[in-house]
Symmetry: C2
Subunit: 271 residues, 2 copies
DNA sequence: CTAAATTTGTTCGTATGTATC
DNA sequence: TGATACATACGAACAAATTTA
């Protein structure tokens, strides 16, 4: 049976409101397909209908939905009922509504698998998009305490710092800084700037293989630099990803910190 | 040598400003330890000094730093110079400043390793903290399309939905919803509510082992519910973690979506 | 609830040393 | 050498957020 609710100990309001089902009943309807008294709530039927249209491609990413008043009319329900359906879709990340602008189908996030062999270019290519690494700048500096610790070199050792933006089909996905042992990778930055691919730049310098040792993830609101470089709206979140890559023999190759436009990627870890 | 800069193609401003060093020169100083003309910029010296005090425990998590005016005076520098040092520490996540309130040493985030055997209680215990799962509510409902797909059951199959908050030492860490096949796990919610541990509740029902199959991660600004349940400041980010756990034989056991207070955890993936 | 005080955040201006062309 | 750009550092004032009286 559906609808058995057991709610305990929630001082204040019940957190289960989102999923409550009602056996609403109208009269003889058949307005625009929503079946009253079918055992399935109206808002669920509407949400499912819209979800199908999005997944089937009738409603394409970026498309604007009709205004709520119009939608509620075509479905033959109250605007509140329609809004509940939209709220459900918004929670799932399928649509996004902005007051005064309208409701839009969101671009599907780039599935970004993280694993021992994570390579940006391969991930993006696998998604049928065109990867590009835009070189921003580089410099040789003395390893500060945390970089020295991660790269397992003495503090003050010269390290090569590279900043870059990663794009997929011209849309900025992430931006970040990576540090490399300078002794091992002299002029990596020049090669990277020329090729736009770290994997290829490393290969040019004789490093054919490396693997991810650790990935650490946090998130926070985007700062000014991220807003600018990733074309984000103020207040949006970024995923901050710290990573350590090592050569096959275990020697640290690069440590870096990147900011990902959180609503354009979904990091995926398979166990 | 330190300071070799190779900056290209950055229309506008230079992204490498943070790391440039200058050989500034003052006079015969010795004010409060900052050495003018030592080859290291004043703000770097200050940043490093404060970082040491934080790491050594002189400045404990949650401690409030002296106000900028006072700090700049004790270091014998202009307030701008001090602020540059603070900005560096804030970027590293060591401190956090709020207008009107002050500057505080941040609590180190809970390292939250994600792997095939991720168990909330074990993670928190390993960090020397006391884990607690607070049961919020549950209900039996018909599987909606996405839950059905993830749990590999037909749409409409009864599933048990459980909402809960996870705390470490009483501080809310995450809050989320998980769906379980109801047929297999009748009354799981009651046992969970009683024990406060999902692992133990599952064991009680005869499920001794399970493993993580996939973890998907995005992030976004916290919504009203998250702000309330996780005691977040508006505008803060949450990490949204979708996970699928399966039994040893590969049968889906639970699928869920949780929101983590992004500034209280750091998800760690080891390859 | 309002007003004042406190504290961080932002912007303008000035000057100086260093690196680059 | 000179011109230019850039990073550092100091000074003053004001804006915005928060706490306190």
């Amino acid at each position: 049976m559906s609808g058995t609710s057991r709610s305990l100990s929630t001082k204040g309001h019940n957190p289960m409101t989102e999923a409550t089902q009602t056996k609403a009943d109208g009269g003889a309807s058949g307005h625009e397909g929503v079946a009253r008294g079918s055992g399935v709530t109206l808002w669920r039927q509407i949400a499912q209908r819209l979800e199908e249209e999005i997944h089937s491609g009738v409603l394409k990413p970026g498309a604007r939905l009709p205004v709520e008043a119009e939608l509620s009319e075509t479905f033959g329900v109250n605007r509140h009922t329609l809004r509940r359906a939209l709220a459900h879709l918004a929670e799932q990340g399928l649509i996004e509504a902005t007051a005064g602008r309208g409701t839009f189908v969101k671009e599907p996030p780039l599935r970004y698998p993280i694993g021992a062999r994570t390579r940006f270019s391969e991930i993006v290519s696998a998604g049928g998009r065109e990867p590009f690494g835009r070189f921003l700048g580089s410099k040789v500096e003395d390893a500060c305490p945390d970089v020295a610790r991660e790269l397992a070199v003495p503090e003050g050792t010269p390290v090569l710092r590279i900043e870059s933006i990663h794009e997929a089909d011209g849309v900025p996905i992430s931006f970040g800084t990576a540090w490399f042992p300078h002794a091992r990778l002299r002029d990596l930055d020049l090669v990277y700037a020329a090729t736009g691919s770290l994997t290829r730049a490393l290969a040019t310098l004789g490093i054919e293989d490396y693997r991810r040792r650790e990935t650490r993830i946090t998130a926070r609101p985007a700062n000014g630099r991220e807003i600018e470089l990733l074309s984000l709206a103020p207040g949006r979140a970024v995923l901050v990803l710290e990573r350590l890559d090592v050569e096959p023999n275990g020697v640290p190759l690069q440590w870096g910190r990147s900011s990902f436009a959180a609503d354009r990627v979904q990091l995926v870890f398979k166990a």
